[in-house]
Each structure stands twice: as C-alpha cells, then as structure tokens.
C-alpha cells in the first residue's frame, strides 16, 4: 500500500497530465456530440460583453459601406414614392401600375464641400457617366443640398444652398404660399424665404418645402422650418428666416434628382406664347 502511494506521489505530474487530458477530451467529445449549445449559451453570457465592446469599435469601419447602401436604398425608395404620388391629376389619385417614373434618384457622395465662404460648392463623386448632369437637384437625407452646376465624366460640381447664386422656389407647406429661397443670412444653418406677402399668416415652426416650379427639385422636398419672422415697414413682404433641416456642414451621402420630363416641359414652355 505504501508503495502504491509512493508510486502515485512520484508520478503525480504524469497523473495530473492524464487527468487534465481526459477532462479536456471529455469536454471536447461531449461538446461535439450534443451539449455544445448549452456551453455556448453560458459562455456567451460571460464573453459576450467583450465581443460587444469589440463590435462597438469595429462597427465604425463598416459604417462607410453601410451608409452607401442605405443611401442607395433611400434613392430607390424616393424614386418609387415620387412615381406614385405624382399621378394625382384630374382630381382622383391614379395608381400608376406601370411604375412610370417621373424623377430619378442617383446616390452619390460629396467628396468635398465648403460651407463658410460667400459662395459655397460641393463636389460629388458621380458625373455624366452615371447620368449626373447640370441643373439637376441634389438632396440629402433630410433636405435640399444644392444644384449641379457642371458635370465632368466622373465628377460633378454643385452649387450649394449656401451660395448667393442658389435660388429655388419654396412654399410653406400648411398654407401653400410660395416665395424664393435665398442665402443671404451668411449663416450655414439658415436661409431666408423672400416674397411672401405680409397678409399671409406665417408662424415660427412652419415647415417649408420645395415647390418644384423650376424643375430642379421635385416638389415637396423638405427645406426646413421657419425660425423667425420679422417685419420691415418699408417692404410689403415678411422677412422669414428658415432653419435648414439638412446640416450642410455634414452633408455627405446625397442623391442627385433628375426630372425625366424636364425636356418635354422645357420645350412646351419655350413654344407656348408668352404674355
């Protein structure tokens, strides 16, 4: 008996090795058989936190790709929505079963932009090869961004909303009164809405949307909300300041809108007798 204990004591390292080896192998075999799920669930409760932390960091590297995908999805959705909504002529809403598309939305990315100069521009990573051309409207996820000024095969230069040369007609959504948007506030977050008569009731917080009369932006695209309304006795119009809903200092993923019926409309308006 003493010999046995002495033997065991002398071999304790080897026995420990065999014990641990057996333990590991039995875990492995049981895990491979059927109890893996149980182990996984208990282990994930303990380890999940660490992986969640890692994901918090790593997710940022995937954001770029994710944003592009989302922007393209938004472009498709807008295209679908506008092609249905546009068809409510003659009083009744006509469901357009042919999916006749009036506006085409193309996802693009602003690769360069300024917001603090007197005349601000953006550069997009899409050009004529992608169907982007001059006088097309550019909108972000939250509102209007600008108008394409020039397009090369691969790039497009855009006149920002924050540019003295940018003029667009817009209307107050609740009343339908329209005026001209101009950037004379010198503030990258606001524009002014001119030419709204004083008799029109205007209140702070009203939503301003595009009117779409010049065929650049589709009608009904969000511009912003009215931030302040002031009166000047010498002018028959309100002095309205609109807070832009799109943060131009951050606009990155944008969409270029083209009106597929613009040529038809332009030729009609050119041939129709004025006066």
């Amino acid at each position: 008996m003493r010999d046995l204990f002495r033997f065991l004591f002398r071999q304790r390292d080897n026995l420990l090795f065999l014990l641990l080896l057996g333990l590991g192998l039995s875990m492995l075999i049981r895990g491979n058989m059927h109890q893996r799920a149980e182990w996984v669930s208990t282990s994930n409760a303990a380890i999940g936190e660490v992986y969640a932390l890692r994901n918090d960091v790593v997710a940022y590297t995937d954001l770029r790709v994710g944003n592009i995908a989302l922007n393209e999805a938004l472009a498709r959705e807008r295209e679908r929505a506008s092609s249905i909504v546009e068809r409510h002529d003659s009083g009744a809403v006509r469901t357009d079963t042919l999916r006749h598309i009036r506006y085409r939305y193309r996802a693009a990315q602003a690769i360069n932009s300024t917001t603090h100069k007197a005349k601000n521009y953006l550069t997009l990573d899409k050009g004529t090869l992608d169907g982007v051309d001059r006088n097309m409207g550019v909108i972000g996820a939250n509102g209007i961004v600008g108008v394409v000024r020039e397009a090369s095969p691969h790039f497009a230069s855009v006149i920002s909303v924050l540019n003295e040369d940018h003029v667009a007609s817009a209307q107050i959504r609740s009343t339908g009164h329209f005026g001209l948007l101009r950037w004379d506030t010198r503030d990258p977050r606001t524009v002014s809405l001119a030419d709204i008569d004083k008799h029109v009731p205007v209140s702070v917080g009203d939503t301003v949307v595009t009117r779409g009369s010049e065929g650049v932006y589709p009608p009904g695209i969000l511009v912003g909300v009215i931030e302040s309304v002031t009166e000047d006795p010498g002018i028959p119009f309100h002095l309205i300041v609109v807070r832009l809903s799109e943060d131009l200092t951050r606009a990155d993923h944008v969409q270029v809108v083209s009106d597929l019926m613009k040529a038809e409309r332009d030729s009609l308006e050119a041939s129709a007798p004025r006066e």
Partner: protein, 173 residues
Amino acid sequence: MIGTILNNLARFVVLILLQTLLLDHVDLANGWVVPYLYVLSLLMLPLELPLWAALFLGFGTGLVMDLFSSTPGLHATACTVMMYGRALMLRALAPREGYDQQDRATITRMGLAWFVTYAGVLILIHHLVLFFLEVYRFSGAPVTLARAMGSASATLLLCLLVQLLVSRQARPR
C-alpha cells in the same frame, strides 16, 4: 516573485485579447493559415515552474480560449499536451550545467537557435493536436497536416516578431 506573476498575468491578458479580438478575425489564405499567438504566454512562463503548475496553467489558458471561441475542451487539451511537451523540451534543451537562475525563455536570454527549436517544436505539437481535434477525424489528414504546419509557422513567426519588438533587455555578451 510578485513582479514575475504580474508580468506573466499581463502577458496572458494582452495575448488573449490580441488573439480573440484581432487574430481570430483575420482570415489569411482561406483558413490555411490560422495563427494562435496566445501560446506565447505559455511558452514564456518561468523555466523553473513545476510541471503540475505548468499543466494547470496550460489547461486554464486553453479553457479561456475555449470560452472565447465556444470550443469546449479544444484549446484546453492542446495546451495541456503542449505543456507536458514543454517539460520534456526544457529537459532536452537544458545547457550542460543546467539553467541559470536568471534564464528565461526569450531570444535575448537563450539565443535565437534555442528559442526557435523550443518554440517551434512546442507550437507544432500544439497546432497538430488542435487542428486534428478540431476537424475531429483523420480522413483528409494531409489537408489538416498542411493547415497545422502552415499555421504553426505563422505562429512561430509572430512569436519571434513579438519577442524582438518588446524585448528590452540588452543582448548577453
């Protein structure tokens, strides 16, 4: 003593995190090269560590890896085998007059040839056990063998790199 323990503990934590958070997510050569750098924390344990402690530490380290990769027993077994092999390796590679008090399993202390032999053999043992237990069969053995060898060389390379990068000691004259 306390310093040695803290040193090894820090090395363990850093290497495990490096392994689970970074290396496990890097797919080199379509699964043919899967480095397991965390074994370096076991390879660099003090030389005078008794075998029973080495076995426990190996099993424990493997178990932590198993927790992270939800492979019960896989890393634990491979590490246990490797730590047993480590004792044999240390005996076989011992200098004629035995290990010095300050000897540690590093390139700067023991020399490049010693470390490459020591780490190379042990990493290969670890990876062979690991990869064969992982596929859980012997059919297709050449493929598994090739994966183990490829990964083992990558692990060894990383081990050398880490040691060269973080070694602060001056080379012995």
